[in-house]
């Protein structure tokens, strides 16, 4: 039995009268790819921001990497990585300078930064580009580099907030190869997306509609339950029923 790396109970976030997240309850198991699926405005980003410590919950319990999200935020931060839909590397720095900076703020030693960046650049096949400014790198590559930098400090979990926004399907596929490599290293991946092809890649999925989790299972089980062949279909059915009930 794998242990839970994220445990959330009745997590609620309100902005004034608006309930962005309503009583979320779920677990993420160590080593899995956990997908957070939902339309824009369904509350995915709000949830991921709370899990990362960027935003405080209104109520509910939350445990990340074995630490309490209210009292042990500093310990959580050391054990997670984060990449947002907005691009998260510095445009005016070179690849190497970005790596050195992020390694530095995560407290990696100089030699560790050097070894890991060499390993990473070799794996991506861009050793010769390490002194190129990020702004001169094609967009598809930027995302891959940003992801590799986000897991440079070998976090237990990496949070990806719509990491492949605005990227073509081929590059998206390549990006997911990197995510599988991260899983092989024992890193848990928590990803939000609204691309249905990406949903298929996840081990387990939670579907969000209007701030609530309306379904949580593996893609196969969900398809079976709703008697449809594609995730897209499942999603549309769920979104409709969610809107009716609310």
């Amino acid at each position: 039995m794998e242990k839970d790396i994220i445990r959330v109970r009745n997590l609620t976030k309100k902005f004034g009268d608006f309930v962005a997240n309503d009583q979320l309850t779920f677990e993420v198991k160590q080593g899995e790819i956990f997908g957070f699926l939902g339309a824009n405005g369904a509350g995915k980003t709000t949830a991921i921001r709370m899990l990362c410590g960027l935003s405080k919950p209104t109520s509910g319990e939350m445990e990340v990497a074995g630490f309490d999200a209210y009292t042990q935020t500093e310990l959580i931060k050391k054990n997670i990585g984060y990449m947002s839909q907005k691009f998260s590397l510095y445009d005016d720095l070179t690849i190497w300078e970005n790596i050195r900076f992020f390694g530095g703020i995560y407290g990696l030693s100089r030699s560790a930064i050097r070894d890991r960046s060499k390993e990473m650049l070799t794996r991506l096949g861009i050793v010769n580009l390490s002194n190129r400014l990020i702004r001169d790198i094609p967009p598809g590559w930027k995302q891959k580099i940003a992801f590799s930098v986000a897991i440079l400090h070998k976090p237990q979990i990496v949070f990806l907030d719509e990491p492949t926004g605005g990227v073509d399907p081929v590059t998206r596929r390549q990006f997911w190869d990197l995510i599988y490599e991260a899983i092989d290293q024992g890193i848990t991946v928590f990803v939000t997306t609204h691309y249905m092809d990406e949903a298929e890649y996840c081990h387990r999925l939670s579907m969000m509609v209007n701030g609530r989790i309306v379904a949580l299972d593996s893609p196969e089980a969900l398809k079976q339950r709703f008697g449809s062949s594609s995730m897209n279909d499942v999603f549309v059915q769920l979104a409709r029923s969610g809107e009716k009930s609310s």
Binding site: S84, F87, Y90, G107
Partner: protein, 368 residues
Amino acid sequence: MKRLLAFIRKEFLHIFRDPRTMIILFGMPVAQLLIFGFVISNEIRDAKIAILDKSNDQQSREIVHRLLSSGYFRVGAELETEASIEACFKANQANLVVVFEPDFGRKLERNHRASMQLIADASDPNMAEMLSNYVQGIVFEYVNDLNRTSESPTFIQASYRMLFNPALKGVYMFVPGTMALILMLISAMMTSITIAREKEMGTMEVLLVSPLNPFQILIGKLTPYFFLSLINASLILLMAYFVFGLPILGSSLLLVLVSMLFILMALSLGVLISTVAKNQEVAMFISMFALLLPTLLLSGFIFPIENMPKILQYLSIFMPPKYFIIILKNLMIKGIGMSYIWKEVVILGLFLLVFMLISIRKFKIRLE
């Protein structure tokens, strides 16, 4: 600490890699100082004056000679009658007319007292005042020379009191003001822009998710600008000293310490602005309007605070540069020490404290 150093190194890279930042940081102060400096000192070279010498004796000719050899004036017209004065101004032949009363020299010798009249074209009041100050300075010098050789004191009636070195009056006025303006703008504007930039690019989130705490992020952001502003302050002072000959009569150490205080205050103001501004443009806009104009207009840099309407005078109480300018003038030009400026130093310290507290609070609130 190591994390912080990594952060500071990154900030320096941002600065050195952006030509615009570098120009604003180092080009602007030099350009501003030179413009202010030379515009003001050029105005006074070769100003046109007219002479109406009703006595035309040795003494009056000596004064005219001294005026012309000072390098500030040249003769635009020689006048014969009072009536021609107005015509002379209208024809723009002179900005200032110097009138000697009849028997000027005789009265000086006999009564040790004579009068002359300075009539200035006051359509440009600054210029008029400056010119008459210059003339009076030269006359004052002449009287001093006379008094050195005679027992009973000679007196030429002049309505203004004179400074010892009229040529530098402009520099005296603008160096403290320029310094306050530049430090304020650079420190506050640059920090607010660089923080707003991280927000805009989405990298701020990445920083906040990292083990760096908000306080470290602020320190990391501010450290490079603190040092660069300090370099800037030294640059301005060195230029003032070597190019414009402005003395630094007071303690240099105190000057540096006070400048540090002012820079810190401006930096924390920049943080405050960045907590309000959503992107770089807004940050820049707020900095320009909230800092540039008040610093120029309400700090006593250009317009004397005593002459302002009461409301503006009260408003100027909340202008930190005002206090810095007072301190600078006292320290550099008057050469007086801490016992005279402690009040202003305390006020700047209070500004710093208030801005710091608010911005740290707001910076944290933003994370909710």
